[in-house]
């Protein structure tokens, strides 16, 4: 039988390591592009301040990148370690984008990041600029493939269950890649990363301007960050992944939970501004009419279903899933049973719903009505957590649009230094994008529960058969090491920021002055 303590600990470990990894990834995505923009300006104008900017932000980027790499290895291996049944069950589909991520994206990023730091005196100006851009593109391709994999967890298209191998197998890989949920998530997530990078640059530059230090560098950095940040913050909200939410049944459940909307409302549904969601309804709520229906369905007459009707529907699918499980047993007993194969081919899509019953009994085909009801109620995610994390995320997103718009106005009017109140606001806004992205992760992934793969594989059924001791040891080590490293990282970042970019002047005039004559000869422009 499944040990639910182990499942809960494995989930806690995955959430902790993923949320932690996700502190560094968005900053990598955003800063890499901003560095590439700054270096492009340097190459075009030849003004050394832009190279100093690239080097300074690059140093902070490097500290952050090291943490991203350190915590990323864990993510690549953790599926097999803690989610071995998941790995067997969906590896045929889910493993491919992860492997392609390594081949196409992470190799690019990780190979050129070394040259970004070590190639300044060995490459021409343009050569180094290309390296910087390739690093940034590598990081963003990485995000694409990871989100193709993640999008498939939310909307498992292009695959079907094979009773002979007891797992999901690819039928159409193009559907997996062009999964609308994956594409929406990609745009939303990388835009959130760009916003994070922009806020990071804004806050630290504001600190310098408040102190009157490194004014040239800080003013220009803020100008870049303001425009980049405004464009990104707008795209996060406008291209929010709500557009992907209508795609599937559980995504609808997620929307209903996010809105704490228990019953289906006449279209277009109202947006719940405030509520106190309980386990079975809201104690109190304030609604704005029409808005939700317009956002999620982009129409006036499409209904957004509520939680209770979705539970009823889940119950129907669980009953069908029991039959699918029975057919699968018949195929296993006699692989030549054609009648069972045909029956299974007709309703295999509900097998995952049948597996929800594994929480209550092993022989799911004999489940009682009470067990079916309990399993159907299990499809409701934690409404209160989703409701509030979504609102926090949206509030932070809207705040950042206003913030960057103001920043752009002040920067364009050259009034940044004369507005210390704004500079203070910028400095204290530093945590805002991180609050938004971690809340967003909770909405997307905690909101996916009880599924590991929506409608296909329940989370509790996907875990490895490890012991509580195994999990206690690994979780203890991760928490200790990660906490210590975060402390060291923040300390080094603060130290680097306080020291400022001055020390980089020693590189002036060095670029391209390689001691390799043939490299210099290959770049006759100098």
């Amino acid at each position: 039988m499944i040990d639910f303590t182990v499942v809960d600990l494995a989930r806690l470990q995955f959430a902790a390591t993923a949320l932690y990894h996700f502190l560094f990834v968005p900053l990598t995505l955003g800063l890499s592009f901003m560095m590439a923009i700054m270096e492009s300006v340097y190459v075009m104008t030849g003004r050394p301040v832009w190279r100093r900017m690239t080097l300074f932000w690059g140093t902070l980027f490097g500290i952050n990148f090291a943490m991203g790499v350190a915590t990323g290895i864990v993510m690549e291996f953790q599926f097999g370690m803690n989610w071995s049944y998941y790995s067997h069950y969906v590896g045929d589909v889910f493993g491919a984008p992860l492997a392609i991520e390594g081949l196409m994206a992470f190799f690019l990023e990780a190979t050129f990041i070394g040259l970004f730091f070590f190639g300044w005196d060995r490459l021409s100006k343009v050569g180094h600029l290309i390296v910087t851009w390739l690093t940034a593109f590598g990081a963003n391709f990485s995000a694409l493939w990871i989100l193709v994999a993640n999008g498939w967890m939310q909307n498992p298209v292009g695959a079907r269950f094979n009773p002979d191998t007891m797992r999901m197998e690819v039928t159409n890989f193009a559907e997996v890649i062009f999964n609308p949920v994956a594409q929406a998530k990609f745009v939303h997530t990388v835009s959130a990363g760009y916003t994070t990078g922009a806020m990071f640059v804004m806050a630290i530059s504001a600190f310098y301007l408040l102190r009157g230090r490194h004014v040239d560098l800080a003013k220009r950095s803020m100008a870049v960050a303001a425009s980049f940040g405004l464009a990104s913050a707008l795209s996060v909200v406008v291209l929010g992944d709500e557009s992907g939410y209508v795609a599937t049944e559980h995504q609808r459940m997620k929307i209903a939970a996010v809105e704490a909307m228990w019953e289906t409302e006449p279209a277009p549904a109202g947006l719940t501004l405030f509520a106190l969601p309980g386990k079975d309804g809201n104690a109190y709520e304030v609604k704005i009419p029409w808005i939700l229906g317009l956002i999620t369905t982009r129409s006036l007459n499409t209904e957004v279903p509520g939680i209770r009707p979705l539970v009823e529907h889940a119950e129907t699918r669980i009953r069908s899933g029991m039959q699918a499980a029975a057919d699968l047993e018949a195929i296993k007993a006699d692989p030549k049973n054609q009648a069972a194969r045909e029956a299974f081919a007709a309703n295999w899509k509900d097998l995952g719903y049948g597996l929800l019953l594994k929480r209550y009994r092993d022989d799911v085909q004999n489940a009682t009505p009470e067990e079916i009801r309990k399993a159907a109620l299990d499809t409701v995610p934690d409404v209160a957590v989703l409701f509030w994390s979504f609102r926090i995320m949206v509030a932070m997103g809207l705040y950042m649009i206003g913030f960057f718009a103001l920043a752009l106005v002040l920067s364009t009017l050259h009034r940044l230094r004369q507005t210390p109140a704004f500079l203070k606001l910028a400095f204290f806004s530093l945590p805002v994008p991180w609050i938004a992205i971690e809340s967003g992760w909770l909405v997307a992934e905690y909101g996916r529960q009880p599924w590991a793969i929506e409608g296909v594989l329940p989370t509790f059924y996907a875990a490895s058969g490890l012991s509580v001791v195994d999990l206690a040891i690994s979780l203890g080590f991760f928490v200790t090491l990660y906490t210590a490293l975060l402390g060291v990282m923040v300390y080094l970042m603060v130290k680097t920021i306080k020291a400022g970019p001055a020390s980089y002047t020693l590189l002036e005039g060095l670029q391209g002055s390689s001691r390799f004559p043939e490299a210099a000869a290959a770049n006759p422009s100098r």
Partner: protein, 381 residues
């Protein structure tokens, strides 16, 4: 699915070869980083010397480590059952590897940021652990695969594991672990000898010759152990090489000298262990004296040693000591025909590109690493 241009049997064989290519690629490319990490406190004594080694590895180790990440991803995609069973079965060993590997990126990046000697010594030992521990455990894991791993599969193909962490430390597995350490330390030393000058290069050469000699003896010992003492696994039913990937459809027995069967049937395969031994022997004689020959020798030795493990096991990927019939083989633990094909196309497109730009980066960064060359770069570690 019959419309795919390559049949299922061929694709499984190709992916078995590619698994070998990725593991050998990892051991050659990131292996010298691990070896240099393990040598760091010994081959380099002053801070300047240690910075020389760290900055030798610094510009390229991140790209090299992707061989490991890609190895993990490719096993997930092409051999999902292997990924599921081995990573969860070796859970605490994997956690130990991960903790050691986590120390590397931060070690390289953080060490040079503060000049305090205690701070730097702390990260020197972190980098030592980050190199030595994975090198050892990867070898121990391969040894355990040859011994058989105590896992089972139920009717839904859910893996279970009956072993413990300390159960991995059996004598043969420890010898394998030491072979791995010796081979990677020798390889790391060969790179140091090629890329640095002065006392560090000399010390690395001496350690490298010792490691290569020890590797030679240990690899020979492991080979004799496999040939004369260790029972191997043999499939006793006919496996459908085109069939669905389900490890429950065969029978397997243990036989004395079973891991030698492939060499008896295909004598050319003996080239692999000969290459391993020959490479280590040449490395013992030349390492640090003729830098290029030494590096070529350790590179060939790594290729031969990993190929030996793979060829001995074939067609097994992961034999089960608990229930030999559920052992994972090349014919029953792969991805679907379609996925293997898609992954092969992706690999044929992207791997040559990766190799090309990696070669270019090494070309840009070529030349000896000296205190003067480090001093010129404000980004140096």
């Amino acid at each position: 699915m019959t419309q795919l241009p390559l049949d299922y049997e061929t694709l499984r064989l190709v992916w078995w070869l590619l698994l070998g290519v990725l593991l050998i690629g990892f051991a050659i490319m990131d292996g010298f980083d691990l070896g240099i990490g393990a040598l760091l406190p010994f081959a380099a004594r002053t801070d300047e010397e240690r910075r020389t080694l760290i900055n030798l590895v610094g510009p390229t180790w991140e790209g090299n480590q992707v061989w490991l990440i890609l190895g993990g991803g490719a096993i997930f995609a092409a051999w999902p059952a292997l990924y599921a069973v081995s990573f969860s079965g070796f859970y605490l060993a994997m956690i130990t590897i991960l903790l050691a590997l986590i120390l590397r990126p931060v070690g390289f990046k953080f060490r040079g940021k503060i000049a305090d000697p205690r701070w730097r010594a702390l990260w020197d030992w972190a980098l030592f652990i980050g190199g030595f521990v994975p090198a050892l455990i990867f070898g121990v894991a391969v040894g355990n695969v040859l011994l058989g791993v105590p896992f089972g599969l139920d009717g839904t193909l859910r893996p279970s594991y009956e072993g413990t962490f300390f159960g991995l430390l059996r004598p043969f597995a420890l010898v394998s672990g030491l072979v791995s350490v010796a081979m990677l330390v020798a390889h790391g030393a060969a790179v140091i000898a090629l890329r640095t000058e002065g006392p560090v290069a000399e010390r690395a050469g001496a350690y490298g010759r010792m490691a290569a000699a020890a590797g030679f003896v240990l690899f020979l010992l492991a080979g004799l152990w496999v040939a004369f003492l260790l029972p191997g696994y043999v499939v006793t039913s006919v496996q459908d090489v085109f069939g669905p990937s389900n490890p429950l459809n065969k029978t397997v027995t243990l036989a004395a000298g079973g891991w030698m069967a492939n060499y008896a049937a295909h004598p050319w395969m003996i080239a692999a262990p000969v290459l391993g031994l020959g490479g280590l022997l040449v490395a013992t004689l030349t390492l640090g004296r003729s830098a290029l020959v030494g590096l070529a020798a350790t590179t060939l030795a790594i290729t031969g040693i990993i190929a030996t493990a793979g060829l001995s096991l074939f067609p097994f990927l992961l034999p089960s000591s608990l229930d030999p019939a559920v052992s994972l083989t090349v014919w029953d633990a792969s991805s679907s025909h379609m996925t293997l094909f898609i992954m092969l196309v992706s690999t044929l497109i992207f791997l040559p590109i990766v190799l090309a730009y990696t070669a270019w980066v090494y070309r840009v960064m070529r030349g000896p690493v000296t205190p003067a060359s480090i001093g010129r770069n404000p980004n140096a570690y």
